[in-house]
């Protein structure tokens, strides 16, 4: 982002040019289905305004004129907000989410809303009403090269891999260069998971650091806005523009937040890296295991202290999450009754029948399933045994982290996903619930504890697809977390995606991005 910003200031490129290129690239990568809505006119207008500011020599900041995309579960005034659900198809919110407003206030150019799993429930970005998102790496030279010869001759339709989820659209958008940064959300790993599969940086900030006002909630006590960018420095920039107390969100902390620039760390010897053994989870691919190991060695060889640690309650996090998540979902979805906004069924025999029909028509099976489960757990006779128990288990999970971080560990290093991205056809063979339970295991506990975590793209798998590793930090210690992540990013030199469409549009500006990763 610094490079682009410099280019804008120097006049080597204009905000309008940037915007137009991104818009045109969005069109030519339409088959990815990363975007639900593209706000072309509004974006161009914003770009125009930005240009005026640059020509006056008064840009608002690093983000001025930068095209960004936002996951479609953030409220955007004037642009449809659907959450990829029939319930909110056509819903135009009258207000901007705080994070959206902050981006706009910094002069960012909002290109559009990205695709997701319906109401952010899922780990594949496959279960929204606008269809699944395709991982841009499916069409990369790197992936095609490694594909079996027979499948290469098949049309591109059948072999494509998922983005992961639920912020798949945002990850794909950043990965395919259609925007410079995107917002996602992270409740159980929904930003880090697709970041890993799409080879981009996915930051989950500490709970309470960034306002959730305007983010349509999945689990209020775990949701955070997530940041997806192509490099760690960019994530720090976006974080700087978003973090801080919001009076409209009572769960944000009051402390003053100071945006920071990341130092170029050369010496990691002061750090203690913890490697939690429980994250060697069942189903973890040998490839990723090896990569994880290699990363740990990387730190060791550079002088850092690398220790094995234990987070014994990790294996309970999925079950615990299932109870708490479905309970909150049941509660949060209660407002969708068709009366004030959103879909309303034509059924009008009685109010109750209208509610029932509206909700049956508006929600997909995944959402309805979670509502039913959640209501079950919240019944008076079940509350103690499920909800309260789960809260207690949550406390235990949190304490695991507290203990480990209290024993001198600065950063935890873990895999982000169990494997690289699977083909869509294979992914959909198992249902959403099964998939979520499997895929969230390495990321979910972090949400339980509200800690900051980041996925850093590490290497390509044997199949030519991205694999990332996760760093977990102490609460509100994003600066330390990102500093270490940035060092790691520099060490691994993750390759740039070689995508035809991107190459066609690449007229130097993206070269800057390439060099950013390797400088």
């Amino acid at each position: 982002l610094f490079q682009v910003s410099a280019a804008l200031r120097a006049g080597r490129v204009t905000a309008t040019e940037l915007c137009q290129r991104c818009l045109s690239l969005i069109k030519s990568t339409g088959f990815l289905n990363a975007y639900i809505s593209v706000a072309e006119q509004a974006a161009l207008r914003q770009a125009e305004e930005s240009e005026k500011r640059y020509s006056r020599g008064q840009p608002l900041g690093v983000l001025d004129g930068i095209p960004v995309a936002v996951k479609d579960n953030f409220n955007t005034a004037g642009i449809e907000t659907t959450c990829a659900s029939n319930m909110l198809k056509g819903y135009i919110s009258p207000y901007n989410a705080t994070v959206v407003q902050k981006l706009l206030d910094q002069g960012a150019v909002l290109l559009g809303k990205t695709n997701l799993d319906e109401f952010a429930m899922g780990s594949g970005s496959t279960d929204g009403v606008f269809g699944p998102v395709r991982n841009p790496w499916s069409y990369s030279r790197q992936y095609k090269e490694k594909s079996a010869p027979e499948s290469r001759s098949e049309d591109r339709e059948s072999n494509w891999v998922i983005t992961g989820g639920s912020s798949g659209g945002s990850a794909a958008a950043v990965s395919s260069f259609t925007c410079f940064a995107a917002l996602g959300s992270d409740t159980g790993g929904s930003t880090r998971n697709p970041a890993a599969h799409c080879g981009v940086v996915g930051l989950k900030p500490t709970y309470g650091l960034i306002s959730r006002h305007g983010l349509i909630p999945l689990v209020n006590s775990m949701d955070v806005p997530g940041i997806l960018t192509r490099c760690v420095d960019d994530a720090a920039v976006v974080l700087g523009s978003l973090a801080g107390h919001d009076p409209k969100d009572s769960t944000t902390i009051q402390d003053n937040f100071k945006p920071f620039e990341l130092p170029n760390l050369t010496d990691v010897s002061k750090f203690t890296i913890g490697v939690p053994k429980e994250y060697h989870a069942p189903g973890l691919s040998s490839e990723i295991l090896a990569l994880w190991s290699k990363a740990a060695d990387l730190f060791k060889n550079a002088g850092a202290k690398v220790v094995e640690v234990s987070l014994p309650h990790t294996r309970y996090s999925i079950v615990c999450y299932h109870v708490l998540c479905t309970a909150e979902v049941a509660s949060n979805m209660a407002r969708f009754d068709g009366l004030e906004y959103g879909h309303r069924s034509d059924m009008n025999e009685s109010t109750e029948s209208m509610y029932a029909a509206t909700r049956r028509e508006g929600f997909n099976d995944v959402v309805r399933g979670r509502i039913l489960s959640g209501n079950y757990f919240l019944l008076k006779q079940n509350y103690e045994n499920y909800f309260v128990k789960a809260q207690k288990v949550r406390r235990l999970i949190v304490n695991d982290f507290v203990k480990v971080f209290g024993s001198g560990v600065d950063i935890l290093l873990t895999p982000t996903t169990l494997s690289d991205a699977v083909p869509y056809m294979e992914f959909i063979k198992a249902d959403n619930r099964t998939r979520s339970a499997q895929d969230d295991i390495l990321t979910q506990a972090v949400n339980m504890a509200g800690l900051p975590a980041i996925n850093v793209p590490t290497a390509l798998s044997e199949r030519g697809l991205p694999v990332g590793l996760q760093f977990i930090g102490r609460s509100f210690q994003e600066k330390q977390l990102l500093t270490v992540a940035k060092w790691f990013e520099k060490q691994v030199q993750f390759p740039m995606i070689e995508l035809e469409e991107v190459k066609k549009h690449d007229q130097g500006i993206f070269q800057h991005q390439k060099s950013a990763a390797s400088s």
């Binding site: 953030f74 409220n75 907000t81 959450c83 909110l88 919110s93 009258p94 207000y95 989410a97 959730r212 006002h213 305007g214 983010l215 349509i216 909630p217 689990v219 209020n220 006590s221 009076p247 409209k248 969100d249 009572s250 769960t251 009051q254 309970a327 909150e328 049941a330 509660s331 979805m333 209660a334 407002r335 969708f336 009754d337 009366l339 004030e340 906004y341 109010t351 109750e352 509610y355 209501n375 919240l378 019944l379 008076k380 509350y383 909800f387």
Partner: protein
Amino acid sequence: AARGCGGVGVWRRAWQRRPGLAVPCRGQQAAACNARGGAVPAGKSGLAPWVPVVGLEIHAQISSNSKLFSGSQVQFAAPPNSLVSFFDASLPGTLPVLNRRCVEAAVMTGLALNCSINKKSLFDRKHYFYADLPAGYQITQQRVPIAVNGSLSYSLRIDDKMRQMVTKTVRIKQIQLEQDSGKSLHDDKRSQTLVDLNRAGVGLMEVVMEPDMCCGEEATAAVRELQLILQTLGSSQAVMAEGQLRVDANVSVHHPGEPYGVRTEVKNINSLRFLAKAVDYEIQRQIEELESGGTILNETRAFDSRLGCTIPMRDKEGKQDYRFMPEPNLPPLILYDAKSLPSNVNHQQVVNIDWIHQRLPDLPSVKRAKLVEQYGILPEHSLTLLNEDGLTEFFENVIKQTQMKPKKVIGWIIKDLLSYLKQHSIAVKESPVSSFLLADLLNLLENREISPTAAKQVLAELWKGEGKTPLEIVKEKKLELVNDQKELEEICQTVIDGHENE
């Protein structure tokens, strides 16, 4: 401890079956349940006596500029849906932000009701689907409310003739902060429901009174006293006609010595008169039902003011499971006192219980005691003075302008002025007779320029509000007292002479 009818040396009067009552909705005469005393007689039909038990849940709208969790305004009778913020309409992504003033109102009320204020209280979601509840849940305080374990003392006349007052106490179980719902208007003709969300999200204090009362009169007296307290504090305007104070009554009956009976809940009673009627009706209904071999259902009922009886509410699906869940968007509410207040904190950000306590105004009970002491009037008089809006002020204004002793003035205020106002259903502030005029009149009486009888006549004239002063009326009607001995003799002589022939 003085509890309900059983304390303070007064027998709980048991209810007796009224023979021959088949029609349920006839006007019920409530026997004062603290009457007379003495052993409780058995019913005419020889059945065992009944003990009615009444508990109350009172919802008081907090007097504040904006709602409990959002910035939209609080105003009565505004155009429909004109005071609705995004949060009130439950637009997805909106979050609650606690209104400080509402917290202070609840703390004030809790302190005035002798409660323990919980320094840490929590918010919960109570789920049910209804058109006037946009989010599908109400934010309330079910687990740990803001105040608990208080008490409210109120006075009752034992017997009009005896003019004796008794003080009773009802325990306050808790006070909780919660959201009010919107309003639904059912248009059966067009088969539609119209929803107005102006009221949705307005702050409420729910005051829960333990079942220490035993009849409509006690319930009414307790609510009236609460109303006065709230109005004195300013935490709620508590005007029932404007829906700022609503009462749900929990009623059950049982035989002495046996466990409490099944209770019914009579919801949304919005006037003191209806409260007394509803409670007494329900007690009677339950007694009759049980005595004829029936059972009482644990149900919710409404009071039909036209018919004067309680009826089961439409959606009586049995017990609802509200699926309570902690409200995740609101951290625990932490209150401080002088001891626990952290030093480096912004005063705007915290609520200090001690600070509020120091600034509490005189409560009605204190005011009444002061009136009794200052003016030498009876406690029952001070009760009446405070019970009528503006009457205390009127009384004190008259006192200031007259030489008549307060003990005498009070009679005129309560017997003459108040009964006239009641007869014509007008408030003190609408009285055609101002305190100035009344004081003027009383001065004439005090100076023996007119007789008490004449004074009453003058007062009757003054009510007409024709702008004449008492003196003018006296002159007009020739009501002057004749004090001159000679003059009196002459008059008597004239009268005697006029009747010589009889």
